[in-house]
Amino acid sequence: MVSVCFYFQVHQPYRLRNYSVFDIGHNSNYFDDARNKEILLKVAKKCYIPTNKIILQLINKTGGRFKVSYSITGIALEQFEQFCPDVIDSFRALVDSGNVELLSETYHHSLAFLYSRKEFKKQVDMHNKKIRELFGYKPKVFRNTELIYNNELARFIEGMGYNAVLAEGADHVLGWRSPNFVYKPINGKIRLLLKNYRLSDDIAFRFSDRNWSEWPLTAPKFASWINSINGSVVNLFMDYETFGEHQWDDKGIFDFLLHLPNEILNNKDNDFVTPSEIVRRYKPVGELDVPNTISWADIERDISAWLGNKMQHSAVSAIYALENEIINSNNKELIEDWRKLQISDHFYYMCTKWFNDGDVHKYFNPYESPYKAFISFMNALNDLRFRLEKEKKENFIYVAN
């Protein structure tokens, strides 16, 4: 018997426009508003609205036996509020069903944990506030941006009062152990839930791949894999955009989703659980030591997708180097733009690792190249610095007077 835990990540970044050196000091509108709105509406139509409808339908049809969990970034939520409030409404209906758990993360889907604990905590608090405002809900389980995780994160999150944290079930961390059990971080008390990346990626990445030996993937086939699992939980963690956006409706992804819960529940020993239910029900079978940072990205499962080259390092370092001055400026607009520039996607777009092969990175990259992504980012950052200097000068004059 096995408990299946679905967790979906919902995120849409603010993509930068082609921000030129000639804009520095003249135009502080960094983001491609028209394009961001267009993409948001497109994904809402292809994914969020229809998938939410199916999930709610499944919860009702199974008499509440189907359950899922989400984390929705703050910037995705504020964009929904602005451009498609019906997406918020449909998530509300899901949360109100009582079968949906919301998880906590950084408001800005940022790498803040790796650079500033203070800023990290602030962004987690901002996210909690947003979730409370919109859903009247207090998350108890944490998941960091892109499942970025290490021992330090677990300790810090435990200190913030969370019960559990999500991480990638990376081979190099697990070794001979299976991701299909509950663990705890080394010297920690909270629970560590590990993604079963093979089964998760079968849906998220391989579903439409005709070269895959298991194509086409059907609900009965996937359920049979679940049934053959030796363990207590199967954590299926993936981007929510898998449904309808990364894998298309005409390739059968919605049909698959519609039939999967019943196929899994056909085995009376199986059930669906939320992360908090796992915490209540299962004892940890062991401790996991993760001194080096892992994530759910690429085959490396490390942070090289965001911090793999010198451009990325210099861009990320430069943005966090401004922290004290920006915060001390007390200028709301400066602080907000600074936080929007922390969105991890900006650094992902600068990744040169797989640029030759033109695979998944290219698909998700709104820029022609990682180099152009870097140029726009650094120019915007320099404008932010320019504004900061101006602000400091003005404040100084004000004080002097």
Binding site: N18, V21, N309, S314, A315, T352, Y371, I375, M378, N379
Partner: protein, 396 residues
């Protein structure tokens, strides 16, 4: 093979490409006889051919005054003939093309070969003649069209007619890029199935020679290297230079090359008030080319219409970041560079300033570009040509 220019006596990418391709073919056991036009008793004797020992190559010299990248105007200034001033193509160049083709007819009768492979319009008539005599399949290799050389302005009808005749007489056409394939379909009425795209490559020699350049203590250097002709967009380079200098004063713009727009470009730099920041290095050869790339912080190829464009690959081989125009064939095959529309001065300037300002960008472009270009070699293009030959000969 009917050629036009060959290293070391070549002024541009065509000679380099022929050299690479022939070397690739000979590595794969293909015997190549290269017929080159050679001018005797003239100040233009830089086309003296030296057969290279390690190539399976025999060269046959033809007494002709054809030289690479001859436009009829440059041809005239070189040979000092001015007898028809309202036509930019004087009669003599076409006479030479004709003479070359007559000579090739003789060679075509006596040589033993399976396929005729000729490069660009000056050899096309010769190719057609050789085919008529030998009944052997003809491949015309298009490195540039008249529309590229003239940037679409003032296309010469005679040249166009020869190009068109060659393409239609040929059994197959090789285009150096999809960009060029598109031009052939659009302007020459050739069916797409007759055209095979074979991208150029570059031969990689490890080149770890480093030297310091004192000038770099005070200036960043942006390089243009190519013929100073309308096709290569040197004027766009100057407009971008002016824009960049408004923001980054300590930059030198180096123009290496020669061509019919040289005087005009020197004047233009003065007119734009940036003469003190634009250096003209003249036509560079051999090691000086690599030294120029090494000295540069950035190489820019702002071509208006570039069928392929081998120079960015050479720059990348020297760890130098490159900005290339999107109107180029090479932009189809490289990723680790910046690409811009040649006319978009603002974006080009933005990119130049960004590369000069952000050291990490320079480093990543240089390093990744180096590794990208390292994968290029002439084996793949040669392999494609051999498959084409075999198809034409009905060999499976």
């Amino acid at each position: 093979m009917l050629g036009w220019e060959f290293p070391p006596y070549s002024s541009g990418g065509l000679g380099t490409a022929c050299y690479g391709l022939i070397k690739g073919l000979s590595n794969r056991g293909v015997d190549v006889s290269l017929v080159l036009p050679v001018k005797y008793e003239s100040k233009l004797d830089f086309v003296r051919i030296i057969p290279s020992g390690d190539l399976r190559l025999t060269t046959t010299k033809v007494n002709s005054s054809l030289f690479a990248y001859a436009t009829p105007s440059s041809y005239k200034s070189a040979v000092g003939v001015f007898h028809n001033s309202d036509s930019i193509y004087g009669g003599d160049l076409f006479e030479e093309v004709y003479r070359y083709s007559k000579k090739v007819e003789e060679i075509a009768k006596n040589e033993d070969y399976d396929v005729i492979h000729c490069h660009d319009w000056m050899t096309f008539i010769a190719g057609i003649n050789a085919k008529r005599i030998s009944k052997k399949p003809l491949v015309v290799h298009v490195h540039a069209t008249e529309f590229d050389r003239t940037a679409g302005l003032g296309v010469n009808q005679l040249v166009y007619d020869i190009e068109r005749r060659g393409m239609h007489a040929a059994d197959a056409i090789i285009a150096v890029s999809n960009f060029t394939k598109g031009k052939i379909i659009e302007h020459y009425g050739v069916h797409k199935d007759k055209i095979l795209v074979v991208h150029n490559a570059v031969d990689f020699n490890d080149n770890h020679h480093y030297e310091g350049f004192e000038i770099k203590d005070s200036y960043k250097i942006v390089l243009f290297l190519g013929r100073i002709t309308i096709q290569k967009g040197p004027d766009y380079f100057l407009y971008a230079a002016r824009r960049v200098l408004e923001y980054e004063p300590n930059v030198l713009f180096v123009i290496a090359g020669s061509g019919d727009m040289e005087a005009q470009i020197i004047e233009k730099a003065a007119e734009l008030g940036i003469s003190d920041r634009v250096l003209f290095a003249g036509f560079l050869k051999g090691e000086d080319v690599d030294r120029a790339y090494k000295m540069a912080d950035l190489y820019v190829m702002p071509s208006v219409s570039e069928p392929f464009g081998i120079t960015p690959l050479e720059a990348m081989r020297n760890n130098t970041p490159v900005i290339i125009s999107k109107q180029s064939g090479v932009s189809e095959v490289i990723n680790h560079c910046l690409k811009v529309d040649f006319w978009d001065i603002n974006e080009m300037s933005n990119m130049i300033i960004s590369v000069l300002r952000y050291g990490e960008l320079r480093e990543c472009l240089g390093r990744n570009g180096f590794f990208e270009v390292k994968k290029f070699n002439w084996d793949e293009p040669a392999e494609k040509c051999i498959s084409l030959y075999n198809n034409l000969l009905g060999v499976v």
